[in-house]
């Protein structure tokens, strides 16, 4: 695929341009007697080519810049956000933030803004991805649709690409900036009443191959014909990475120190105790080569790699500046932009993998189910972390070490904690993309006694 630009692709402003906007905001704040002010500027250029019924049916592009201003007035803080960047609009926004700040009680927990910090360099801007044009995406989509037609299938999906630029600065001299690109290809191939799916996401579009993803979905859709209806119950499951991602991703906020303190985390009262299998390790690591994201948090604290779960035990949580102070520890660089009631969260989860490929998991399974992806996952019991949801786009019966046929989709009601106690083996971890959680680095898993409670009609 060539990155051509015959449908003109706009480009991001320079970092200097963003710094000028930030300097204007901080100057206006100072002029209005505001001693502490913070400004975050986010510029994004996004494009998405969407296809269904073997043709492009939606094709969009957007370009926007947002300036978000936080002021502190006498130990009280508030935020005003605008996408108008002329000086009058920025002045209005500064005054509104100061006015909002003043209309509330003092907050004795509010910390002074952070001063200048040092950040580890991450390079996540890929010019080829930024330059992907509407035609580039359309040609890749056309190839996927042609494959579907050749196989007597119907293709639907997306090919998106984009670039973002963020700058955070405050009146105490902090300045942090980050640029990155990203691209996603996702294909659903439908054959009769059956379907299957594959998805890739990366900072550099060359890290995945749209046609290979389309072929994977196509081959699985062909195998998904005439599904057998099985009895609900407990099954050994082989979860492909997208299925692992979409379940384990629901743990992310439970690792927040604020959530634990608020007693709404499933780790409340359980930190430091054996909780899941010894073969489970989970970290948050924005610096992992398969991750995307900024090396600083909403207040500008440099992000740290945090080992959250080690040998089945929750070892650490993530902290904002405020929750760290309350816990008498150091912030980990996971705080959300202030003011907020949620505190912090790890957004770059890495689940440690193993060395058992999916093929070997299947070969070692007398009877079980191979799960492509999960859908519409919601929390049923927040403390046992029981989640409900459906299998979707490719559920296959495994018998005597072989995939024998497709099965009708199940509803599950399954505790994630229990599931992580029942992991029999892990495959190599890689960046995975689903639809229920943000992208993470996860392995495929073979899990015993996964609980399916009801079956649907297809």
């Amino acid at each position: 695929m060539s990155a051509r630009t015959s449908a003109r692709t706009p480009s991001l402003r320079s970092e200097r341009d963003l710094q000028k906007i930030a300097a204007t905001v901080l100057r206006l704040a100072k002029t209005h007697g505001i001693r502490e002010a913070e400004v975050q500027i986010d510029e994004s250029i996004e494009a998405l080519t969407r296809f269904a019924n073997n043709a492009i049916h939606q094709h969009v592009a957007e370009h926007g810049l947002v300036v978000s201003i936080r002021t502190v007035v006498d130990a009280r803080t508030a935020r005003v956000t605008t996408n108008r960047i002329d000086e009058d609009a920025l002045r209005d926004a500064v005054q509104s933030a100061a006015s909002l700040s003043a209309q509330q009680p003092k907050d004795s927990h509010l910390l002074p803004m952070l001063g200048k910090q040092k950040y580890r360099s991450v390079r996540r801007f890929h010019p080829g991805t930024a330059a992907l044009s509407a035609e580039d995406r359309a040609r890749a989509v056309r190839s996927a649709c042609q494959l579907a037609e050749k196989q007597g299938q119907i293709a639907a999906g997306i090919f998106s690409s984009g670039q973002n630029h963020c700058l955070l600065a405050n009146s105490r001299g902090l300045s942090a900036a980050h640029r990155q690109t990203h691209a996603t290809f996702s294909a659903t191939m439908q054959q009769g009443s059956a379907a299957s799916w594959a998805k890739g996401n990366a900072g550099d579009y060359r890290r995945f191959n749209p046609m290979e993803l389309a072929k994977t979905a196509s081959e699985k859709a062909a195998r998904a014909q005439n599904p057998v209806e099985l009895e609900p119950g407990r099954y050994t499951v082989i979860l492909e990475p997208a299925a692992v991602l979409d379940l384990v991703g629901f743990l992310f906020y439970d690792f927040a120190a604020t959530a634990v303190a608020d007693k709404r985390s499933c780790f409340a009262g359980r930190v430091g105790k054996p909780l899941v299998g010894e073969n489970i390790g989970i970290s948050d690591d924005v610096y992992h080569p398969d991750q995307l994201g900024m090396p600083f948090d909403g207040e500008g604290v440099p992000k740290q790699r945090v080992q959250l779960v080690e040998h089945g035990m929750v070892k650490n949580l993530v902290y904002s500046r405020q929750s760290a102070k309350q816990a008498k520890t150091r912030p980990t660089g996971h705080g959300f932009a202030l003011p907020n009631e949620y505190g912090e969260a790890p957004m770059n989860l890495v689940v440690g993998g193993g060395n058992v490929p999916i093929e070997q998991m299947i070969a070692s399974t007398p009877r079980g189910l191979l799960v492509t992806r999960l859908w519409y996952i919601r929390e049923v019991d927040p403390y046992e972390k029981v989640m409900t949801g459906m299998t979707r786009d490719g559920l296959f019966l495994v018998e005597q070490g072989k995939v024998t046929r497709a099965a009708k989709n199940f509803r599950f009601n399954q505790s994630i904690l229990e599931m992580l106690r029942n992991v029999e083996c892990l495959g190599p971890a890689s960046r995975a993309a689903g639809e229920e959680s943000f992208e993470m680095v996860v392995p495929p898993m073979k899990v015993a006694a996964f609980h399916f409670s009801e079956v649907t009609k297809f």
Binding site: H59, H63, A78, R79, S96, P105, S133, Y383, E454, K457
Partner: protein, 486 residues
């Protein structure tokens, strides 16, 4: 704003578009929250920009920009045309739009008290008092409150000559008490969970909700749930409270009737629908007492799906979805109407903002009231479980099999509401469930609930939808599977 619209439309025409429509939108928002007697979020935002949708070479293109200058919108329109021409590289058929008249109009939605004119100090003061009141109840471990307000101005113009300005206010509020004891978390919310109640209107909603009056009950019920009996696993009679029934309508009627889903356009993400085209006028969707409409007109009420014109410039309409139990109609757009034999769009197309493509969305998909008072309905029921206030919801990607759990339930025994039950849930197959409905409460119990967080599309768009419902009774329902001992 009309100058920007005109420049964009003219540029699109010159570049080769055979049809174009443009939306300028100015959105203002205020969000206030508290947690454990302290301010949580306090913020305001505004967003102003333009999006243009064009047909060129028979295919769609859309581009958006916040650069509101004549040159900026012209460049955006040119980009939209270039994108449409790229789309034509993978085109099956040319876009065909149902005819629609030219509309020149200006409309403002209902709003008695502009929420942006009410001081933040007053709004925050109320939330802090309510939060404090819930915190006083022993056993409560977390309290949260919120208010949200939006003011949206939109200017729509099309190459067919329409010029429509609409102004809407949207207001919402809610409170939550949580209690953590031993190994369980229980929660109660008012007036609804996941953000509370939301309407097309102003601060009058906040005053009508009487948050302070309900705060002690909400907190006491959250604690009391710990000592309540577990909802049993059984097959039996279920009575659903109005807000839960509103979500049931949303998931098992509202989404399946979206024609873009039916036609496979959402197959990769939101899913498809069991309501294939052969089922139109040919499916007993529900029992004969069930009547569901999709009504965007102001006379239906101040719902999140109420407007004067949709984002294709089509006037608001009322569509019969289920009539005397039979499936009667889909939610359609100008592009999809002809596929189901309609001469005109049903007027259900909306965009989340200026930077999003308009698409088919639920309007106010409502169950029309029946004959019963809630008191009489309970008195008429020997053995049932009454469930209220959603706690979790999930349904398959064709909208057949669902499972809901609610925050609280009560046993109904011998025509009386008796003991409280914890961890209630129910599940089923959409058409089986709706065909088991044998009683619907009357208009006195009917509330137009707002669902502010309906996600659909790629890139994702979050839209508000309305769902009118009164409590109703269902027979032979699977109850308690979610928490059943495995």
């Amino acid at each position: 704003m009309w100058d920007f619209c005109s420049r964009a439309l003219e540029t699109a025409r010159v570049r080769g578009a055979t049809y174009a429509d443009v939306r300028v939108m100015h959105q203002r928002q205020r969000i206030l929250t508290t947690k454990n007697r302290r301010v949580g979020t306090l913020g305001q935002s505004e967003s102003l920009g333009l999006g243009i949708r064009v047909v060129a070479n028979g295919a769609w293109g859309f581009a958006s920009t916040d650069n509101l200058t004549l040159d900026g919108v012209a460049a955006c329109a040119a980009q939209a045309v270039a994108i449409a021409k790229a789309s034509a590289l993978a085109k099956k058929e040319s876009v065909q739009l149902a005819p629609e008249g030219t509309q020149i109009d200006s409309w403002q939605g209902p709003c008695l008290k502009d929420p942006f004119e009410i001081p933040v100090e007053t709004q925050l003061g109320l939330l802090l008092v309510v939060d404090e009141e819930m915190s006083k109840v022993k056993g409560v471990t977390l309290t949260e409150t919120d208010m949200q307000f939006r003011k949206v101005d939109s200017w729509f113009a099309s190459s067919a000559g329409s010029r429509i300005h609409q102004r809407k206010f949207v207001s919402g509020c809610g409170i939550v008490a949580m209690s953590f004891q031993g190994d369980a978390m229980q929660k109660r919310s008012y007036p609804n969970s996941f953000g509370g109640q939301h309407i097309l209107g102003g601060y009058e909603l906040i005053e009508a909700m009487e948050l302070l009056k309900h705060a002690p009950r909400v907190a006491e019920e959250a604690v009391a749930l710990h000592s309540a009996a577990q909802c049993p696993e059984t097959t039996g009679t279920l009575i659903l409270g109005g807000s839960q029934l509103g979500l049931q309508i949303h998931e098992s009627v509202g989404h399946p009737i979206e024609l873009d889903r039916v036609l496979g356009q959402e197959a990769n993400f939101a899913g498809t629908s069991f309501l294939t085209l052969d089922k139109l006028h040919n499916l007993q969707y529900a029992s004969p007492i069930v009547n569901v409409v999709a009504d965007a007109r102001t006379e239906h009420g101040p719902g999140l799906g109420t407007f004067a014109y949709d984002d294709e410039g089509v006037p608001a309409q009322c569509i019969d979805v289920i009539k005397n139990g039979e499936f009667h109609g889909y939610l359609s757009s100008r592009e999809t109407a002809h596929l189901v034999g309609l001469s005109r769009s049903g007027g259900t197309v909306r965009a989340e903002g200026w930077n999003r493509l308009p698409m088919i969305r639920m309007t106010n998909v409502s169950l029309l009231p029946g004959q019963w008072t809630l008191t009489n309905l309970i008195a008429d029921t020997d053995d049932a479980i009454l469930m209220d206030t959603n706690r979790s919801w999930s349904i398959d990607d064709r909208r057949y099999q669902f499972q809901f759990s609610t925050e609280i339930a009560w046993e109904i025994r011998g025509g009386k509401k008796s003991r409280m039950l914890k961890n209630p849930s129910y599940s089923g197959i959409t058409t089986d469930f709706w065909n088991s409905c044998d009683a619907i409460c009357n208009a006195d119990e009917w509330v137009l609930w707002g669902t502010p967080n309906c996600g659909k599309g790629q890139p994702m768009q979050v839209m508000g939808t309305g769902h009118g419902a009164s409590p109703a009774r269902f027979r032979n329902v699977q109850i308690g599977k979610a928490f059943a001992k495995q």
